[in-house]
């Protein structure tokens, strides 16, 4: 990095106040046509083509809107359920519809509202807060949004055909397996949700790389907005938690479709395997939803109190701590399954410990309020409502962490009350605060203070009237998920009160929707910094975000650099123009946010949208068993992805560009500094976690049914895995040598690289095939036992990688043939090779476990 006037220090915020840069990186006045060019480059496409827009101002808002739509829809389902329960033995809906209603309510709220909503806010807000022009993979965000929107809508409509899943949102087998749920209802859940999880993971990769690599120069980790921290931990949690549920849905779908008995006790499976996998995802999921909301609160409270957040470091530590702890308490959903006392004790302690980071944050917010002067505007109301409701939910959370208490409370309406206090308090109220707080950055008009307060009071009173009584009725013996109850149980009056509360919430949400319709005017500009906030999302912005990219010297730059908005708008900071002639943003180093290179970004793209459409149709086709259309769309989806990817990896447009202040940055880098390298590493973390969960399943089934495991004599002879391993190593070496030879192109021909990569394909496929034939040679069949099922699944997972790698290698070679790959412009090859080497290691570990473990047992 060249030495420049730019100073990215790690010193404390407050002391830097006076040391704001006197020398601006870009001289003024700026050339007259510069701004027009910026506008032209970032202009959204017109007419129907607007749907192909990919930048975060559009995709982020659509994403928020879609999530809001699912919130309303799932809320309607809830009011129907509450009406059914208003009186004993009501006959508004029968058990068939009711069981679909509660399954859909839970599923839609969790998977189609909560996670997408916080991810959507991230897509919309993060580039603003970090003064990046966009997130690093705009087309990936667009793909994630469209896949989610189309898939989610189709999933929801299953309700209108009576085909909606009815096994409850955690879908416990054996109830959801083929014997007890023969219809396609459960498949809608497994394929629909599995698919939406993939979209969530795509978003998470985007957010991790975005937070770490696209920040304003100087926005080092200690000056990072708490929200960015929260989103980073949120996305990392998705990376480590969601693979468990993706694997679980995969296993259950294999059991349903091909009768591979993972969860069938009499054939060596175990229903508890599902519960472990599901809750290993499901508990972190709660914090996945809560952390971004808590991050938002940590942004809003300081603004509403007009003072910096108290205990910034403690709050960040609390967020990180929550992320870690939340992976250690999934068993508290299984306290009543009859696990040994000792393990219950451990998980009970961990469940209580997670209350501490939440406590730190609550008292940090109170301390912030005490330090400043709280402005009683609508966001403040929702923030105080959040504090009230969430604290109650946290306290009942400590109660259910007590094992003996949980034996009574578990699976009753007490839990229904608890989880709604936590999720409505911990997520819905912060989100509504966020709607009111950030609307002025997205709309030319802020939302109405008057309607906002009405909406608040209806929702706040409604939530307490609905859910507080449910604690009581739960301990009075009312289990959850009952479509009816007998009059003599005496639960009628409490249920009636709860139902009245539910209608109040509905009125509150309706008032909010009216407010949106009246006042929300997006895509035409913003209403300005109406709350006098201190962070960068309140800079004047257009579709290109900020006119120039500021140097950040504190956590609240707008408070500490009074002229910042004016100077940014005048183009005095970095990158006031578009030196590469296209969309671009500055990539910075992950710790201290030093500018590293200028990323050339892709623009609007139809193939991305179509790829999402075809992916959604592919999964839907599989669900309704229309295999030919499904596979046609699957192929089309791959074609669309390739088409969309073809323009990416553009190579350097010029050796370097001047972004101002004498900083000359390269326009293309490969290797560990590049954003695509980071994304591939994160993807490998996802794959590795999935594989680890698969190995967990192998060992878990062994602990339950060790007698199903073969003696050494029952295994394939060692020649099979040895040959397979040798092939993996040969393939890996071929890719490695190919990569080395690429470095010498163009001096030498690219043919050695092409041939080596081409040769590696059959070698890898051969390695996978040999393992499968080895297992077949012993007469083992996957549908025969839990052991057989898991052993073949390890191979099938490897086979999936083989398919992906074949496509990637052929794509890489095609790019080489068309002159789009050489010694410099080599990110495509590098990424293919990264995944290849990962898959090799994964294959070798699989072979060791499957062939060595039973032999070690003797």
């Amino acid at each position: 990095m060249s030495d420049t006037t730019w100073e990215g220090g790690m010193a404390d915020t407050r002391e830097q106040k006076e040391a704001a840069p006197v020398q601006f990186p870009s001289p003024v006045p700026r050339p007259e046509d510069e701004l027009d060019e910026l506008k032209r480059i970032w202009r959204a496409p017109r007419g129907i083509h607007i749907l192909s827009a990919v930048n975060n101002t559009y995709v982020g808002l659509w994403y928020v809107g879609a999530a809001l739509m699912f919130f309303v829809l799932a809320g309607i389902l809830a009011t129907i359920m509450r009406t059914q329960l208003a009186q004993p033995e009501m006959r508004l809906v029968g058990h068939e519809l009711y069981n679909q209603l509660f399954t859909m309510h839970g599923t839609v709220m969790m998977f189609l509202f909560a996670v997408p909503m916080v991810e959507a806010f991230g897509v919309f807000l993060l580039p603003n807060m970090q003064a990046a022009r966009d997130l690093p993979f705009p087309r990936l965000s667009a793909y994630a949004f469209w896949a989610y929107f189309i898939g989610g809508t189709a999933f929801f409509t299953s309700l209108f055909f009576g085909l909606a899943p009815n096994g409850g949102w955690f879908m416990y087998p054996p109830l959801t397996s083929y014997q007890h749920s023969p219809g396609i209802n459960a498949d809608f859940w497994l394929l629909g949700i599995g698919f939406i999880e993939i979209s969530a993971i795509a978003g998470a990769i985007e957010i991790i790389v975005g937070v770490l690599k696209t920040r304003a120069p100087g926005q080092s980790l200690d000056k990072l907005p708490v929200y960015s921290w929260a989103m980073l931990i949120f996305a990392l949690m998705i990376v480590f938690a969601f693979p468990a549920v993706i694997l679980a849905t995969l296993l259950l779908e294999l059991e349903r479709a091909f009768h591979w008995p993972f969860f069938i006790a009499e054939r060596g499976g175990d229903p508890l395997l599902w519960q472990h996998l599901f809750w290993f995802f499901g508990h972190p999921e709660v914090y996945v939803i809560f952390l971004p909301a808590a991050g938002m609160v940590s942004m809003m409270v300081p603004t509403m109190a007009q003072t910096p957040l108290a205990g910034y470091r403690l709050v960040v530590l609390a967020i990180i701590g929550t992320g870690f702890l939340s992976f250690g308490l999934w068993v508290h959903h299984m306290f009543t399954t009859g696990l040994p006392q000792a393990s219950l004790g451990f998980f009970s302690a961990a469940s209580m410990a997670v209350a501490i980071p939440s406590g730190i944050q609550v008292f940090a917010w109170i301390s912030t309020i005490a330090s400043g002067k709280l402005q009683m505007r609508t966001p403040t109301y929702f923030l105080l409502g959040f504090l009230f409701i969430f604290t109650l939910g946290g306290l009942t959370g400590v109660m259910v962490a007590m094992v003996p208490f949980d034996w009574q409370a578990h699976d009753t309406h007490f839990i229904v009350a608890h989880l709604h206090y936590v999720l409505i308090g911990g997520m819905v109220f912060p989100i509504f605060a966020a709607f009111y707080y950030w609307a002025p950055t997205a709309s030319t008009r802020p939302l109405s203070e008057r309607l906002g307060k009405w909406s608040f009071w209806f929702m706040f009173i409604g939530v307490n009237v609905t859910f507080f009584p449910l604690h009581i009725v739960g301990l009075m013996g009312m289990p959850r998920r009952n479509y009816t109850y007998l009059a003599e149980m005496g639960w009628g009056p409490i249920n009636l009160i709860a139902t009245i509360g539910a209608y109040m919430i509905a009125v509150g949400v309706l008032i909010f929707l009216i407010d949106l319709a009246k006042n929300f005017r997006p895509f035409q500009g913003d209403a300005g910094n109406v709350w006098n906030a201190g962070t960068l999302e309140w800079l004047p912005s257009g579709n290109y975000q900020t006119r120039s990219i500021p140097i950040v010297t504190s956590r609240e730059p707008l408070w500490d650099q009074p002229n910042l908005a004016r100077d940014v708008e005048a183009g005095r900071y970095y990158l006031p123009n578009a030196p590469t002639g296209g969309r671009e943003t500055i990539i910075t180093s992950p710790i201290d946010a030093r500018p590293q290179y200028v990323l050339q970004m892709p623009g609007p793209s139809w193939p991305t949208v179509l790829a999402a459409v075809f992916t959604a149709v592919f999964f839907l086709g599989l669900t309704v068993k229309l295999y030919i259309p499904a596979f046609t769309c699957g192929v089309l989806a791959v074609v669309m992805v390739i088409w969309w990817m073809w323009d990416s990896d553009p190579g350097p447009s010029s050796p370097s560009v001047d972004i101002g202040g004498g900083l000359h940055l390269p326009t293309y880098v490969t290797g560990p500094m590049s954003h695509s390298y980071w994304a591939m590493i994160v993807l490998e973390l996802v794959a590795g976690t999935t594989f680890a969960c698969l190995l967990f399943s192998y060992f878990f089934l062994w602990t339950v049914n060790p007698e199903m495991w073969p003696q050494a004599g029952g295994l394939p002879s060692l020649g099979w895995p040895a040959a397979s391993a040798a092939l993996y190593i040969v393939g890996s070496a071929a890719m490695f040598i190919g990569g080395r030879s690429l470095a010498r192109v163009p001096e030498r021909s690219a043919w050695p690289m092409r041939l080596l990569a081409l040769l590696a394909i059959p070698v890898f496929v051969g390695a996978v095939t040999l393992e499968i034939f080895g297992q077949l040679s012993t007469g083992l069949r996957p549908s025969e036992s839990g052991y057989g099922a898991v052993v073949y699944t390890i191979s099938a997972w490897q086979g999936f990688f083989a398919a992906v790698l074949v496509i990637m290698v052929l794509y890489t070679i095609a790019r080489s043939l068309s002159g789009r790959l050489n010694g410099v412009r080599r990110a495509t090859y590098d990424n293919t090779q990264l995944l290849w080497q990962y898959a090799t290691v994964q294959g070798l570990i699989g072979l060791i476990v499957v062939h060595a473990f039973p032999r070690l047992l003797g």
Binding site: G94, H95, E96, N99, G168, Y172, P174, L175, H180, A265, E266, G269, P271, L272, L314, T336, T337, G338, Q341, G345, A353, A355, I356, G359, I360, V362, F363, A364, I366, S367, I369, A370, S371, L374, L384, T391, V398, M399, M402, P404, F405, W407, Q408, H410, D411, T412, P469, L475, M476, G477, P479, R481, Y483, E488, M489, G490, W491, P493, I497, V704
Partner: protein, 340 residues
């Protein structure tokens, strides 16, 4: 009859107040005492109830603390809330305070749990199998052999620990009698063992707590706790085969019962009926409820159940016998009701 329009304003207010008081009273009285964690009938539920009140009061105080601190942060003069603005405030209240209270709570919770899970030999072992959507009950002897089969009702002697051996036939169910103890799941392929006692004679109601499909809502049962002597007498009567009917209608009822193939799914000991798909009916007339805690046992409900079980509890395994004529139904129902 309450006619709101005719009531003058002041009185309307009165009516409103009275209604409010009534609602609150009915909430507090908790009309049902048979199935409630707030009405413990045994040492297990008793300890958990005490624990619950500790948690409610402690939680309530902490909640109050948060609310009061927030109010101080908002309304007290800035110079008098200075103490809340430094790091020490966050560390004391956010770290030190929860660590101390949670540790104390955890230790307390462990002691409660240790008291609840105690070794020792039970007075009686009863195997309960959860099925979609009813409960199969086996009374076991010391060797684990089944001695008596029943359904949807468990009778136990008071004052002695009873061991429940919990299994599932099809999907996961959860065994829960709130007035006596917390719940424990019944999981296919696994056997869970639970031990608790009832202090005094009484009728306690239990219900399936784990969602188990269509009729999860209507899967309940009764636990009847009896003085040990009464229990012995009851047990001795139950192991007898079904009484032979003497009255014409009952004799006819038995014949119809057998003719219509009821014996393919139900056992009535002492008759050719020996099917095991459904509940054992040998002494069905002596049980409190039919259809798994859904209807009281009498001739009317029995007849209704036989003729329209699919209407009353759709999806259960028993077909509706809508083909039977009125007097046939009554005869079968009367016969079953006579099986005390």
């Amino acid at each position: 009859m309450w006619r709101p329009i005719s009531i003058p304003c002041g009185e309307r207010m009165m009516v409103f107040r009275v209604t409010l008081v009534l609602i609150v009273l009915s909430l507090l009285s908790g009309c049902n005492t048979q199935q409630s964690a707030f009405h413990p009938g045994g040492p297990h539920a008793d300890r958990v109830e005490t624990l619950s009140w500790v948690l409610f009061i402690g939680g309530g105080l902490i909640f109050l603390l948060v609310i009061v601190l927030t109010a101080i942060a908002m309304f007290v003069a800035p110079e008098r809330r200075q103490w809340m603005t430094n790091r020490r405030f966050i560390i004391w209240l956010g770290i030190v305070f929860p660590v101390i209270t949670l540790t104390a709570l955890l230790v307390y919770g462990f002691t409660v749990a240790r008291h609840l899970v105690r070794p020792g030999s039970p007075a009686l072992r009863i195997e309960v199998v959860g099925e979609m959507w009813w409960w199969r009950v086996h009374y076991l002897d010391a060797q684990g052999t089944q001695r008596l089969v029943s359904a949807n009702e468990i009778r136990i002697p008071t004052g002695q620990p009873i061991e429940f051996v919990l299994k599932a036939e099809d999907v996961i169910h959860s065994f829960w009698v709130p007035s006596l103890a917390g719940k424990l799941d019944m999981i296919p392929g696994r056997t869970n063992v639970y031990r608790f006692a009832a202090d005094r004679p009484g009728i306690y109601r239990g219900q399936c707590a784990e969602y188990c499909g269509d009729q999860h809502a209507l899967m309940a049962f009764y636990v009847v706790a009896m003085e040990p002597n009464d229990f012995e007498a009851w047990y001795a009567a139950q192991v007898q085969p079904a009484a032979e009917p003497m009255v014409t209608q009952l004799i006819q009822g038995k014949e119809l019962f057998l003719q219509n193939g009821c014996g393919a799914c139900h056992v009535v000991r002492g008759t050719p009926a020996n099917g095991i798909l459904g509940p054992d009916l040998t002494h069905v007339g002596s049980r409190l409820s039919i259809a798994a805690g859904t209807y009281p046992t009498n001739v009317g409900t029995l007849a209704g159940w036989i003729s329209s079980s699919q209407h009353l509890k759709p999806g259960n395994l028993m077909p509706s016998f809508g083909n039977l004529r009125g007097e046939e139904l009554r005869a079968i129902a009367a016969y079953l009701e006579s099986l005390k």
